[in-house]
Amino acid sequence: MIDEQTVSRRNFLKTSALTSAVFSLGFYWPGSGKAAKIVNAAEANNFGVEMNSWVHIDKSGKVTIFDHRAEMGQGSYQAVPQIVAEELEVNLNEISVVFAQGDAKKYGNQVTGGSSTVRGSYKNLLKLSATAREMLIQAGATKWGVPKIECHAEAGHVIHKPSGKRMHYGELVEAASKLEAPKDVVLKKRADYKLIGKPLRRLDTPMKTNGTAVFGLDKMIPGMLYAAVERNPRLRGKVKSFDDSRTRLIPGVKNVFKVKMGVFNTYREGVAVVADSTWAAIQGKKALKVEWDDTGFEHLDSEEIYKRQAEALKTQEGLAFKKQGEPNEIIAKATKKIDVTYETPYQYHAAMEPLNCVAHYQEDKLEIWGPIQAPEWVQDYISKEMSISKEKVIVNMTFLGGGFGRKAFMDYPHEAAVISKEIKGPVQVVWTREDDATQGPFRPGITYRCEGVIKDGEIDAFKVKLAGQNNSHWRGGKKDVPNGSASEGFLKPYTDSIKNLAIMDIPFETPIPTMWWRSVYASTNGFAYESFLDELAHEAGKDPLDFRRAYLKEDRLQKLIDKIEEVSGWKSRKKGEGFGVAITECFSSTVAQVVKVSKLETGGVKVDKVWAVMDCGWYVNPDTIKAQIEGSVVMALGAATIHQVKFKDGMAVDNNFSTYQMPRIADIPPIDIHIMDNDADAGGVGEPGLPPFAPALTNAIFDLTGKRVRKLPFSLLGV
């Protein structure tokens, strides 16, 4: 992995984003899966590792922190510095934050997905920052000739209390950079934190209130042209021919050519129009006449997809994801059983910033700027697809105008690179909203058949079968194994404590590409499993929360249930008042939600309030967590009651917000959010708040009306 011959100190300085930095600390990633080792820049040179690092301090004392993860609203731009500043002992408002370039060697896993920014990096970041602090203190102590133990760090200074001497970090960086990094530094106790755990203001907010935050679409580089691409609306289709005669008449249009972009291990074809403004490119695209070759694969309608899923659930048993006891035998023999089907729709990510990417292909390198969730994957993928050595593919992250999973793919940067290569110059490829909305990959719509038997007020048999697309199959994933996320969202203690249980996955494919969407399979599983549990609780004649409590014996879960009970007034509610609950777990965090609904005089129901309690263990910024849960609830509300991707003839029907409606301000109920405090490891924050909302809502509707909603989306006014 490390090529000691080719990487030199000179090389490091040349590629370092901050060549004036004197003291740099970073991780050396010895290989995937191994613990990170902390090294400073000088040591890194000895290793022959070309590396940047998270923390840079220059002689003036200016601290720059690299954010190795994408900022798409979830708060990495805040969380990473807040963690680093805590152990480094610097003021948060005195540091600069810079997005790191994609490089797995320097930053480890940079893929901003799976709610992993904090939980995946915080231990290393704490250690790194504490190490830097200790080295600076040592440098100060040595300089003054006093014992290190008499010195401490505070607000960017090293202080010798007995003498009252103090020096700012800038004066010490040179000496510190020559020290060897200490091995085992002592981290602060949680009770001593000054920054972590506090609802500090986000560092990126001011840039987002005056238009200065640079999103992908805002990136401009000298000489840049603009491109829009008419892509085949069916992923597997090809360009048969195209007529660009009208396109070429549009002032500003410079070039028109066929283009092929990689979408994982398949390719999407289209025709690119390159012009001197976005508008001219879009006009040129509209004027194209393209004939597609869409032979060789099925063109499905939504109705057909769901018909096939229903049929599969009736006739097939599927592959066992988890099977224990004798669920089938008990269900077969039972005189009374629940046998219900839940249907969930395909969804579109609909980030407010449509996909876009700037690429500049030059003979010796390719540089990319864009709203990118997975810079290292982009680097990897393009390097392979275009046969450019990896270090010559430079991937820069801008701010992301939302991501929700879609901006973790490599297709749009690859396409931009291909177009730049063709025109031999820098280009920004702009996806129109219509492109963005119709081309996927989408969240798969999954149908679940749930069968259960209650005996003596307890679950005697529990069986869930799911039929829906596996996101890995169309990318070449193994098809003879069940979906590894068949129960994502469903709390593990249930599968541990229910004796007779089966979770079966029926392989199901269509030519429609599917992929991650905020909270992934938990976003649909949560609805099925938690609605089914509610139905079982009612069958058992038990309070839905008490019923769940009996299976969730872990101390953390009991405390979470206590809290949601307390804040929502669960125990003092009256039956039939319209309260519903759901609890799901994903990305190592558990969220309980209670939803309260009431009847509208004009028919239908309205959501009065949502209570949410999150247990995400160790956390950085409670206000960021609250914001993420607010957003998750809004996104879940839309997916449960407003929008879905429908297909006709193998293509997505709705192509813009005029028909693919979004929740708007008047639709949003008050949301009351609480965070559990404990010493457990950090869990995810950006996604776990989404899955419990839909089932809590439909469970509340059942409580109010006696009507069970088993198909999403549904109309609140139609209930």
Binding site: L600, E601, T602, G604, K606, T641, I642, H643, K646, N656, S658, T659, Q661, P663, R664, A666, D667, P713, F714, S715, L716, L717, G718
Partner: protein, 214 residues
Amino acid sequence: MMQDPKNGKINFVSMKTATVLSVLLFVIAIGASAFRKDETPVKELTLSMINKDSVESVKAFETVYKVLMSSRCMNCHPAGDIPLQGDDSHLHAMAPKRGVEGKGVYAMKCSNCHQETNTPGLHTPPGNPEWHLPPAAMKMVFQGKSAHELAKQLVDKKQNGNKDIKKLIEHADDGLVLAGWNPGEGRTLPPVSHAEFKKAWLTWINKGAYAPKK
């Protein structure tokens, strides 16, 4: 929000709006029934030039009514304070409010989206320099009106924007009325041409502006 599960079309309206709207419909229904009388022309129109013929007038109004109740006309003459949208006359997405002058409110003024001309493309804002709803003090509601009620309303100066017969006749060529026949891509035209509509409109008025029985 509201979603019709049958056709999957989505109408956007806040819960509060839905309540207000149904109350309004109720009030209008009660109010309208109080005016119901038989085929009597309204005073202001009994001019010597009028060649009265209740049969022909009422017959012409059939065409007028069909046009006025088509989505191209009715959508901007809603019963509530939110315009309608589309061939199925669902509540306008994002629930823009009428406002005092009928030109919208705050950041949601009609002309913020509706330009002087139609915006190209499907599901894009149609345009007209005068794009607006009737003002709050003179709502000129079409939605939910019977032919009888609508005919009465059209000639009632207190309900028609103080239009006398001359102004009513001129109104057939009003810019916004004409906009109904230039609705933008993907929208159905009114059931008859503008020429046929105008002919029926003039016939109805010139023959006495009689209101049909129902």
